[in-house]
Amino acid sequence: MDRRKTTGAMSEADLAQVLSQVRAGDADAWGELYRQYAPAIFRFCRRLLPAREDAEDATTEIFMKVRQKLGTYDSSRPFTAWLYKVASNHCWDTLRRRRIRQDLETGDVDALPLEHPDPGQLERLQNEHTSKEVRAGLAKLPDRARMALVLRYYADMSYDEIADTLAVRRAFVGVLLLRARHQLRDALGQPDATIAVKAGGGRKT
């Protein structure tokens, strides 16, 4: 799968070499790896964690974990997939520790409107809002909805990976994503409203 771009480009062969050097304890190779991926991971964290300082901390901590866990990385799989998995687990843990999740643990399709959305309205929404506004709207979403959208549309994770990270059934990922989209549409449609209430989430896990 086409993973999110990172700064500059590193060919697979280069990456494999850098990774083996890092494993051998080469500090320069580690520096190269860090510089290559840190910006993308920082932005990833920035989209998931509400406070900028948290994202900065998380970025550093994620790379410390990566360095520790590099031995467990299976080189037959894409590195970015593994990296984002580590990052998303870390961020999800951070969010989970911070507060008891507000959204429903298991979803049901009934919670979604059966009607098709108005395509014209959707189009207006897309035209009227800048990327920055979308990200601001994202910050208002419940943690899991935000996670789902970022994992899917920023980190390009597969449904399996998302299900694994968020500890939900794979079949539920689609519902989760769609509900998150609804919540984002609502958030952008009424900028000051709190979305969690409307989402019908209330049962604490």
Binding site: A38, E56, D57, L122, L178
Partner: protein
């Protein structure tokens, strides 16, 4: 939404549409959806809308308009902390050596002089520390560095711990300190006033007596120490040990065989004290009939000394009125010194103050008083002043350097927090003023004394560190943000130099110093608060 001639039951729902677009449907279902879409305009529109929403989401999420913060650009090298650690341990070892030479040894010497047991060291530290004559020496660079290094190591240790164990660590630490308090406390009678406490005349307490009451009156005898936390304390009886405590008003009409070490608003000694008095108060009165066997060390507003003092006199006060017998030497720092006609100083006397001492005709002095007159405020003409400022700058810079190496994330976090000027100033003011008050209140309970002392120590470290963060913020403002610790060091050095120069200004200097301190302190509090908030729910 437009109506279609096809029945609604044949339309697929939005989830199915999304799953279809994302290639998540099985083959049969996908084919069915594709077939339906070919002939159903509303569903086609839905798919189109969902797909453009996907594109829009991807674009919005991946657009980069926020640069990665400067300190994240540089690689967090674990190796680079090695020399930081070596430096920290080196400083720490040097610091310990200095502490031992400068503080512990003189302490032990003073303790035997003052007749305190080893067990009383902590108590002695609490009540004597502020009057230790070596505080001046403490201001030298080495000593400061030692304390600073130990302090920053403590911060680092705390930071590592408070992720999960903060509450436990605090409670255990307080308990450990409480247990480390003199075991004598175990052999003490502990009395709580209801609301006042009186030990009637003729009664004798065989052990130490610990009293917490509104008003405390000792008419009887206490064989051990009297440890008292009370609004007013009157000793008419006989205390064979020491008198230690906190009070608003302390009056000793009777006899104390040991030392008196107290903090109070006003103290009146009308009886006799066998050993030394160390006190911190606004008004100190030594009646002409009163006798002190040992030395008198005071930090006072006004000191009225009409009685006999067997040892030395050390006073830091506004006004000192000496009109009695002083067998030892005198070291007096005050705005004014009045030596009355009944005064007799048998040792050497040294006075530094704003005005020349007023010495009455009848006063007997063994030698002329060594007087140095210095007006309020710094002496701008002396080179020593600038040398001292440079040393202080160096000390704060090295302290900042150690902080940066030991706890870089915390450091950058606090600098970040100092950008929130309003909350930082507000919180800083609150903590600057409230912490000592809270610590004194906490100290009013025996177990709390340890917690109070720890709180004050942490507060002192925080107050001293504050300038580092404000300076880093200032340096960053002037030179712009840049990547890596080396740039941060340069910015901090510049900021510290500017702040140091500003605080040297007459009149405005102290105000600048105060603002810098509350700002930095507020930033520290903000950062600590945020970090604790992040970690706290983990304990739930």
């Amino acid at each position: 939404m437009s109506t279609s001639d096809q029945s609604l039951a044949n339309h697929f729902d939005e989830v199915t549409g999304l799953l279809y677009l994302e290639g998540q449907l099985d083959e049969d279902r996908a084919k069915a959806v594709a077939a339906h879409v070919a002939s159903c305009a509303p569903c086609r529109q839905l798919l189109h809308a969902l797909e453009s929403e996907s594109v829009w989401l991807r674009e919005s999420l991946t657009t980069d308009d926020e640069p990665i913060p400067a300190h994240l650009v540089s690689v967090p090298e674990r190796n680079s902390t090695h020399w930081g650690w070596i430096a920290a341990f080196g400083l720490c070892a040097g610091g310990l050596y200095t502490l031992w030479n400068g503080i512990v040894e003189p302490w032990l010497a003073s303790i035997s002089q003052a007749g305190l047991s080893q067990q009383g060291i902590l108590t002695w530290f609490i009540f004597q520390g502020a009057f230790w004559k070596g505080w001046d020496a403490m201001r030298t660079l080495t000593d400061f560095m030692a304390v600073a290094t130990l302090g920053s190591l403590a911060i680092w240790l705390f930071r590592k711990q408070w992720k999960r164990f903060t509450p436990i660590a605090f409670v255990m630490g307080a308990l450990a300190c409480a247990l480390a308090l003199p075991p004598a406390a175990a052999a003490a009678d502990i009395e709580r006033g209801d609301p006042s406490y009186t030990l009637p005349g003729g009664q004798e307490v065989k052990n130490d007596l610990v009293v917490a009451a509104d008003r405390t009156r000792i008419d009887g005898d206490v064989d051990g120490d009297l440890i008292v936390f009370s609004y007013s304390v009157t000793v008419n009886g006989h205390v064979k040990g020491d008198v230690l405590g906190l009070a608003n008003k302390l009056t000793i009409n009777g006899m104390v065989d040991g030392n008196v070490r107290v903090a109070a608003d006003s103290i009146a000694i009308n009886g006799s004290v066998g050993k030394n008095i160390t006190a911190w108060q606004d008004q100190f009165d030594l009646d002409e009939k009163a006798k002190i066997g040992g030395s008198l060390s005071l930090l006072a507003g006004n000191a009225d000394l009409d009685g006999q003092i067997g040892g030395d006199l050390t006073v830091l006060a506004r006004v000192v009125d000496l009109n009695g017998l002083l067998a030892g030497s005198a070291l007096i720092r005050s705005q004014r010194l009045v030596v009355g006609p009944q005064a007799e100083i048998q040792g050497k006397a040294k006075f530094s103050g704003w005005h020349p001492p007023e010495i009455a005709q009848g006063a007997k002095l063994s030698s002329p008083i060594d007087v140095s007159i210095k007006g309020p405020g710094p002496d701008y003409a002396s080179g020593r002043y600038y040398w001292h400022q440079t040393l202080s700058w160096g000390a704060s810079f090295i302290f900042g350097l150690v902080l940066l190496l030991v706890a870089p994330h915390f450091f950058f976090d606090v600098v970040q927090s100092s950008k929130r000027i309003g909350p930082a100033l507000g919180l800083g003011t609150l903590f600057l003023l409230a912490t000592p008050i809270a610590a004194v209140i906490v100290c009013a309970t025996i177990v709390g004394a340890a917690v109070g002392v720890i709180a004050v120590l942490l507060w002192l470290i925080g107050v001293y560190s504050a300038q580092i963060f404000t300076a880093s913020w200032l340096g960053e403002k002037l030179l712009g943000g840049a990547a890596g610790a080396s740039h941060a060091i340069g910015r901090m050095a510049l900021g510290l130099a500017i702040i140091r120069a500003l605080t040297m200004l007459p009149y405005a200097g102290p105000i600048v110093g105060f603002c810098v301190t509350i700002w930095g302190l507020g930033a520290i509090v903000l950062t600590v608060h945020r970090r604790m908030q992040v970690q706290a729910p983990a304990a739930v």
